[in-house]
Amino acid sequence: MNMMVVGCGPTGCSLISRLQAEGHEVSALAETAADLELLRTTLGADMPGLSRVGRAIDVDVLRAAGIESMNAVAAATENDNVNVMVCEIARKVFGVDRSVAVLHDPVRRDVLQKHLGLRAVCSTSLAADALAVALEGNLSPRQLTLGSTTVSFVPVKVTRKLAGKPLAEFDKPKGHVVFGVQRAVGDFIAASDFCTLLSEDDLIILWRVAD
């Protein structure tokens, strides 16, 4: 697919490198020459064929970066409002099917998503979620994005105290739903059967909405 990434800060850079690794044609729009230089140093030989420097909310700059032939646009500058405006221009002026904005303010994200139908990822919520998981001492979670919502799957080790007891006795943390049990022996049991007896070193997989 043809994808455009607006904003080549740390987020934009790693997004571009990932999209290219997955085989997409990427166009990069950096807001400053320094950002473009960062992208060049990060990507080296994998520098996208189409890369521009310019003001992100300028329709002519967006056009020069090829927005008219894009299947998807991600706005990942440091400025929430610039990202909103880029996505709005992509959607309503250029008719791009899929656009997503990075927003730092979770309140703004919720409001704009609800009222404008803007697709946005909140970097603050995602970081907070990862930090909470790390602080709570769980194993590293996996994230899955469904629509514009990100779901976290959090594995929790079965303690000695819980070994031999059924899954129903597991006291799950607030806001989490039990997804299933990853047995120490390797197989996975979905959470439909709460009579499943737990063994030590099994992993109970919980999920929750992260963003």
Partner: protein, 272 residues
């Protein structure tokens, strides 16, 4: 984020709003208290509107609060908290006049979609954003740069140019000022002989220093400065026929603080 409110009305902001609402007067929230925001607030207050200002810079916020004696919220005007505190839901209009187009857009979109504000106006710094902002749902788009350009154009005005002075009835018709060219096809004819189209009315003619109130026997001469009232399409056709140049500019793109004030008054005209 903590929001502080400046101004004498600040402690009893709730009472202030209640009293103003009872009077059934226009309530306007202005985002940005720079030069444009400050003078706009002052103009609207003179017109009897209730004005609330949101400004991020503490010094600018304080200046407006002290000099205008109105509630000024010192916060980011695109944050939900600030807009809630400004009681935006009860405002008739929101005007965003910050220095950044993206902030003005987001403020207008939040006002319209989350607070149901009927009229939104935004100042744009890049004239290219005028059609974009309109397409994204901003009702009134104002460009300082275009305004300046049009004024400068007027200074170097040549023969045969036409300028839109005032747009009326949502752009259906306008007041135009035109300078009749040397090769004006109807030169020497009276207005009666000229048989001008139905939706085209000559309002005044200035010949040198003389102001003429036009009648059927008034003759049209090259060099006359003619003010006329016309439908836009009729004007465009006449410009083609008379080989004159219409310098109208974008329809929704208006200029100056005064214009925003008068445009804002318009939606309430039906109500009262």
């Amino acid at each position: 984020m903590s929001l502080c409110v400046f101004g004498s009305a600040a402690p009893g902001a709730g009472d202030y709003f209640t009293i103003e609402r009872q009077k059934n007067i226009m309530r306007v929230c202005i985002i940005g208290a720079g030069k444009v925001g400050f003078y706009l607030a002052r103009t609207l207050l003179e017109h009897g509107a209730a004005v609330t200002v949101i400004e991020r810079d503490p010094q600018l916020a304080e200046r407006s609060a002290n000099q205008l004696d109105i509630p000024v919220i010192n916060a980011d005007g695109t944050s939900l908290q600030a807009l809630v505190q400004a009681d935006l839901g009860s405002c008739d209009a929101l005007v965003a006049v910050c220095g950044q187009d993206e902030n003005n857009l987001v403020a207008c979109q939040l006002a319209k979609s989350a607070f149901g504000v009927r009229t939104t106006a935004a100042r744009i710094n890049n004239p290219k954003n005028a059609p974009v902002m309109e397409q994204l749902g901003v009702d009134i788009v104002v460009s300082g740069t275009s305004m300046l350009a049009r004024e400068l154009e007027r200074l170097v005005e040549t023969d045969g140019s036409v300028r839109e002075v005032l747009s009326l009835a949502g752009g259906q018709a306008s007041l135009y000022e035109m300078l009749l060219p040397e090769q004006f096809p109807l030169a020497g004819q009276t207005l009666a002989e000229a048989q001008l189209p139905h939706s085209f009315t000559v309002v005044s003619i200035t010949r040198g220093e003389e102001l003429i109130y036009p009648h059927g026997d008034t003759r049209l001469l090259p060099g006359d400065r003619m003010v006329c009232f016309s439908r836009e399409d009729v004007m465009n056709e006449l410009c083609d026929v008379w080989s004159m140049k219409n310098r109208g500019g974008s329809k929704a793109e208006k200029s100056s603080t005064q214009t925003i004030a008068s445009l804002l008054k318009h939606p309430f005209a039906h109500e009262e």
